[in-house]
């Protein structure tokens, strides 16, 4: 893990599996913390106190991000903000391109989403196909007053007319580059990393929606590929 580097003291640590594949760090734990604090305030500002806001994280890593946002918003407003998770696996349009994926958890707050302002939360916004699937999934849960989108990283290359309302960081990437998000709750480490195109994976071109170049190191995202 700890490779001897002269700049170890200044550069944030990069997980060994990512370092080996040539990833570099773009956001560290405190950057992520600041971005989330700003987004939390933006949501409250734009929704005038967030009285009817329900946060729904998209598994895997959207869920801890939604929980962190809810915690920050609750702290500012001194009341609990409803938060849950929305699994989109069964609604994906790329299901047939790979083995069936392991399902994530859907956990809708008890009060439901009817008439609420739902803010979907995900880690990386790329093609927009996950969000399209999330809108379909949400439609079967209830009828929100409006739906907004918060993402930690927007890396561009949209394939659908979808735009985030709250963005932690805009990260210009080439389509082939890989973006990896690591969160303490799931990975034990924290950071956003960008790596070079993965030449070992050729299937990527067929499947830009939840692409292999996005985080191939974590089996959880490719649960079906066993």
């Amino acid at each position: 893990m700890a490779r001897a580097r002269v700049d170890d003291s200044v550069a944030p640590p990069i997980p060994a599996d990512l370092l080996d594949r040539g990833f570099r760090s773009v956001l560290d734990a405190s950057d992520i913390g600041r971005a989330l604090t700003r987004i939390a305030h933006e949501i409250l500002e734009r929704t005038r106190g967030g009285h009817d806001v329900v946060l729904l994280g998209i598994p895997t890593r959207g869920v801890p991000l939604a929980n962190r946002l809810a915690e920050r918003m609750s702290h500012v407003e001194s009341r609990p903000i409803p938060v849950g998770s929305l699994d989109v696996t069964m609604y994906r349009d790329d299901l047939r391109l790979r083995p069936a994926r392991t399902l994530g958890r859907t956990d809708i707050p008890a009060a439901g989403v009817d008439g609420a302002l739902v803010v979907l939360v995900d880690d990386v916004l790329f093609s927009g196909r996950t969000i399209r699937a999330a809108l379909d999934a949400l439609h079967e849960v209830g009828r929100p007053r409006a739906v907004q989108l918060a993402v930690l990283v927007d890396r561009g290359h949209r394939e659908l007319p979808i735009k985030a309302d709250y963005v932690g960081k805009n990260l210009p990437t080439s389509r082939a580059e890989q973006v990896a998000v690591r969160l303490t709750e799931i990975d034990g480490v924290e950071g956003v990393f960008v790596g070079p195109a993965d030449r070992t994976r050729t299937a990527g071109a067929d499947d830009p929606s939840h692409p292999p170049q996005y985080d191939p190191g974590v089996p959880a995202l490719h649960g079906g590929a066993r």
């Binding site: 699994d87 299901l95 069936a100 859907t106 079906g224 066993r226």
Partner: protein, 323 residues
């Protein structure tokens, strides 16, 4: 990759746990106003039933429909089978209509295996003769897991007509794969030849086994498969192997009672036991739908099946040879 589900022995421990976990997530959707998922839209599943069945056929039908698949129900009665059409010709006819999966129930052991060699789609065994019924074993494991928190290390007694029971065969294999300790309880005449080689214990006495059980699974006495006298009278069977209120009291507090149905009340299970809170028979039916949804999703939902299967594990030993 596993394309068919023919036998509980095809499943690795990871496969089985993946199915049970997927079923658990799908069960959470069951209390939503809209239960339907779009996942298998445009896929066609044929229910090919050569034997009478209420719950298995409707359960598969409900599972397929909740995943938005198109379902064609085919039963041997009132079809060309009664004009003498062979299984192979029936299968090829259905295949020509563009089916993605065939769910087959057949009176002949091994029919699903034969079918798997003839069709391009997935074949799911919904019970073949006295051989296997893997989705029943999965739903039983799912039910045990829900009530007892897991299957690993749990003690399960399977009581009754083991000889004719595909449910018992599939359950012994699957529960063993998942780490449970299985005891078969039956009169010697209703135990198959070679049962010593199965990965389970065998007992002829129910009363001694009950106090050490976390779950008891009762099997129906299958008169339609019995060509000989296996026990003197059903009253005598009931007296020695039927679960009545007195025997229910021998079970530990937390133990549950399962029955794959249909029940012969008063023979293998007393009416007051069937209706007692310890009985999870009705819940098994509900669990059957989500477990079958999970199987259909994992076999058909992706571009290729998500289950690895035993073939992927060269070291995996076949369980219970001689079945």
């Amino acid at each position: 990759m596993m394309r068919h589900l023919l036998s509980a022995g095809d499943l690795t421990r990871d496969d089985a746990l993946l199915i049970l976990d997927t079923a658990a997530e799908l069960a959470r959707l069951a209390d939503r106003p809209i239960k339907k998922l779009p996942t298998l839209r445009g896929r066609t599943i044929v229910n090919l039933f050569y034997e009478d069945s209420t719950r298995t056929r409707t359960s598969f039908e409900a599972a397929a429909k909740r995943l938005s698949a198109d379902v064609i129900n085919f039963s041997a009665k009132g079809s060309s089978v009664s004009k003498g059409e062979s299984l192979k010709d029936t299968a090829l006819t259905l295949e020509a209509m563009g089916t993605d999966a065939v769910v087959i129930r057949h009176w002949a052991s091994g029919a699903p295996h034969r079918l798997a060699g003839w069709v391009r789609g997935s074949v799911i065994n919904a019970g073949d003769g006295t051989h296997e019924h893997p989705t029943q074993a999965l739903l039983d494991a799912y039910t045990i897991r829900r009530h007892l928190g897991g299957v690993d290390g749990r003690r399960v007694a399977i009581v009754g007509d083991i000889l004719h029971s595909r449910v018992a065969r599939s359950n012994v294999t699957l529960l063993h794969t998942l780490g449970a300790e299985v005891t078969l309880v039956a009169p010697p005449t209703l135990l198959p030849v070679g049962v010593e080689s199965w990965p389970c214990a065998v007992s002829y006495e129910l009363d001694g086994v009950l106090p050490k059980c976390d779950a008891v699974m009762l099997l129906r006495v299958q008169r339609e498969r019995m060509q000989a006298a296996f026990f003197p009278t059903s009253r005598e069977y009931s007296r020695r192997y039927g679960l009545d209120a007195a025997r229910l009291a021998l079970l530990p507090e937390h133990a549950i009672v399962l029955h794959p149905g249909p029940m012969n009340r008063g023979v293998e299970i007393a009416a007051e036991v069937a209706d007692s809170p310890r009985s999870v028979v009705v819940e098994q039916v509900a669990n059957g739908v989500v477990v079958r949804m999970a199987v259909l999703y994992l076999l058909l939902g992706g571009g290729e099946p998500a289950l690895a299967g035993r073939a992927a594990e060269p070291a995996a030993a076949a369980i219970g040879g001689g079945w």
